[in-house]
């Protein structure tokens, strides 16, 4: 799956429709509010009881941003009041101290990820305090393979902060760039110079970060081939180990900040696809490998290596090499995945704060997976990470007869096969090179909830 898939505008246009990105299956809208803190505690206890309990992956959500980027669809709070960060940190530390004792001490933490919002809304000393509390209540792995990563907004970083983060233990960074074109930056309210961005990448390298990721977005207002082409050249020259090229979806009813964007400035669907094509061609020429969805990596990067040996996985943080970890999320809106359960914290700050202040775990909703969910999650994971499903292996692992169990689902494939997205060979269902940019369309064929929803449209109709 390493080579970058060929670009096919006609095909991409035909399949350009909204749908789940499968960072989890079932997806978050399926979570239920009758799943509470007791259920999460039970899942944690059960997960300790496995013969070899899974290692741990920790995620902390920092919701604050100094200024609003208009394209953003994330859960974030705009403020310049640094004291809010301090108050938030205090509660985070309390949440960590409630969670730590639920997990056996011999379960090593292989991955820590700080996301947002803007994690570097907190100062390096505050981030240090957070890491210290994590290390007090969990056991960090000493393995060189451990990944401690942080999302950074280069506009609010100093090179000395990077040194401090490296000292704290971070070895991976992910930088938001989106586009360097000044007109685009103005239209999305994110003015960020090439110089400050490069200075941060440079500092990460100097201080021993193992990998640097850069996020770009195509489909932003006023974006042009020429401008985006320059952005790509600049970014490729800096040689980030990983690159994500996200598609901008204009859904102002869903994401209020997007109301600030003038829809007349958005590129046409054709132009938008042209931007993706440009990115794919340039990355391909520069030697990047395609990982899946919107992700690319240098061939020597851990993600590309893991994919080559079948050890790639996908969770809420995107693609990862740390497969068999239970994921514990702290902070507002954070999602945990422990054993066969998902659990999510409240998405609004006051509810999360109230739970912490009352000394309760803030679990707001979640889901106890059924056997069918686990099976489909396994299938979709293979599809999203390896681009194919080994039917026999799946039958074996889950005790099913694939053709019978998935009879309805298999009936959905012929149109995709006719379009050359999927092929069935040697007992495998495989995304073709044309289909690899549309993995989620193939995965959606096996999503039980999606098709239930389509069968009962009334439940999802818009309230007018």
């Amino acid at each position: 799956m390493a080579a970058i898939p060929p670009f096919d505008a006609e095909l991409l246009r035909r399949y350009d429709r909204p749908g789940p990105r499968y960072t989890s299956y079932p997806t978050a809208p399926q979570f239920r509010t009758d799943f509470g803190p007791e259920d999460f505690i039970r899942a944690a206890r059960l997960s300790n009881d496995d013969p070899i309990p899974r290692r741990l992956s920790l995620y902390a959500h920092i919701p604050f941003c100094f200024s609003p980027c208009f394209y953003c669809g994330c859960n974030r709070i705009i403020t310049r009041d640094l004291s809010r960060g301090e108050a938030y940190l205090e509660r985070l530390v309390r949440e960590v101290s409630m969670l730590g004792p639920l997990f056996d001490r011999d379960r090593e933490v292989m991955q820590v990820h700080l996301g947002g919002g803007t994690p570097n809304f907190l100062g390096a000393n505050q981030i240090g305090a957070l890491m210290e509390s994590l290390q007090t209540h969990f056991r960090f792995s000493e393995s060189p393979e451990r990944d401690f990563s942080i999302e950074l907004d280069p506009r609010f970083m100093r090179a000395s902060d990077i040194e401090a983060l490296a000292f704290i233990g971070f070895n991976r960074a992910s930088l938001g760039v989106q586009d360097f074109d000044p007109a685009v930056q103005k239209a999305v309210n994110r003015i960020q110079s090439v110089e400050e961005t490069m200075a941060v990448i440079e500092a990460c390298r100097r201080h021993g970060f193992r990998s640097v990721n850069v996020d770009l977005i195509y489909g932003l207002p006023l974006q042009t081939r020429e401008g985006f082409s320059r952005t790509l050249d600049t970014v490729i020259q800096a040689r980030p180990d990983r690159l994500a090229i996200y598609s901008y979806a204009h859904l102002p009813q869903l994401f209020r900040p997007q109301k600030q964007i003038d829809p007349s400035q958005l590129p046409s669907p054709e132009d938008k696809l042209g931007l993706l094509q440009l990115a794919i061609e340039k990355l391909s020429a520069a030697g990047y490998a395609y990982i899946g969805m919107d992700h690319f990596a240098l061939p020597g990067d851990d993600l590309a290596l893991a994919q080559a040996r079948g050890g790639l996985h996908r969770n809420f943080m995107g693609y990862t090499t740390h497969a068999e970890c239970d994921l514990i999320g702290v902070g507002v809106s954070a999602i945990s995945h422990v054993g066969d359960c998902f659990a999510q914290n409240p998405r609004d700050l006051p509810s999360w704060e109230a739970a912490i202040d009352a000394g309760r775990l803030p679990t707001w909703r979640g889901l106890q997976l059924e056997e069918d969910d686990v099976l489909r999650a396994d299938l979709i994971q293979q599809l999203m990470c390896q681009g194919e499903v080994d039917v026999r292996e799946l039958e074996d692992r889950h005790g099913i007869d694939f053709a019978t169990y998935f009879a309805t689902e298999l009936d959905r494939l012929p149109p995709l096969e006719a379009d050359g997205l999927v092929e069935r060979v040697d007992g495998r269902i495989r995304a073709t090179s044309r289909g690899r940019l549309l993995l989620r369309i193939i995965a959606a064929c096996f999503d039980r909830y999606l098709h239930q929803a389509q069968a009962e449209p009334a439940r999802f109709s818009k309230a007018i």
Binding site: N48, P51, I52, P53, G399, I400, D401, Y405, A407
Partner: protein
């Protein structure tokens, strides 16, 4: 969603016994099948049997000190027997799989000397012990089977008392489980572990961390593959070699 296409897990209740035959997994099946009893004898034996359950995960079947009046054969699920020592620590005595008997160690005192708890959904066959003892005086085959079960029960407890390494204990535990499953017609190499690692640790007199460390090592050496509660024995001969010092065969 379709339930069609789901392969059934091996289920001992699927070949339930009838008036003349015990379930094929039952510890007493030998006692009647091969001994040429006549119909009335078998009927008498079967009258003693009472199907009970289901017991759900965590539910107790009997507790230490309860009056003993019946032994029971496990038809489905796993039963853990344990005592609580003076320090309040749980000591696991054993795990009882389909076809195996619980309550044998209660015969001498007329009270159960331990607790028995269901680790998953458990179905039992209860045999009234006074009636069975009486019948055994008339049915030599039944008596022989009872003695055999008793001596097996004593032998099992002695196995792990020796001075063995953690690796040897774990290997012996897995090999013994594999053989017991195989004997009842289940897979010898694919085991679903219904017991927690704390239970396994307690039974093997190891720390829970040691259980995981040893299993991880066995996995790295290619002897087993562990995914959550599913354990596959990839190299039974090597695992048996490691277990030999404990199992002696």
């Amino acid at each position: 969603m379709s339930i069609a296409g789901k392969r059934p897990r091996p289920n001992p209740i699927a070949d339930d016994g009838d008036e003349l035959r015990f379930c094929s997994t039952c510890a007493f099946s030998d006692a009647c099948l091969s001994q040429g009893y006549n119909k009335s004898d078998l009927r008498e034996l079967h009258v003693l049997v009472e199907h009970v359950g289901p017991f759900h995960e965590g539910e107790h079947i009997f507790r230490e000190g309860d009056e003993f009046n019946a032994i029971a054969a496990v038809r489905a699920g796993t039963v853990k027997t344990y005592v609580v020592d003076a320090a309040g620590q749980e000591q696991v005595l054993g795990f009882h799989l389909p076809g195996e008997i619980i309550g044998l160690n209660a015969i001498s005192e007329a009270r159960y000397p331990c607790n028995a708890v269901a680790l998953d959904t458990v179905m039992l066959c209860r045999f009234s012990f006074p009636k069975m003892a009486l019948l055994a005086t008339r049915m030599p085959g039944l008596q022989a089977q009872l003695f055999k079960l008793l001596s097996q029960d004593i032998g099992k407890a002695a196995l792990l008392a020796g001075d063995y390494t953690a690796d040897e204990r774990m290997a012996a535990f897995l090999v013994a489980l594999s053989r017991r499953f195989a004997q009842r017609g289940f897979s010898a190499t694919r085991l679903h572990l219904t017991m927690t690692r704390t239970d396994i640790a307690n039974y093997l007199r190891l720390a829970p961390e040691t259980v995981s460390r040893v299993l991880r090592r066995l996995q790295e050496e290619g002897l087993v593959k562990v995914e959550r509660r599913e354990l596959e024995i990839s190299d039974l001969p090597r695992l048996e070699a490691l277990a030999r010092v404990v199992l002696r065969n």
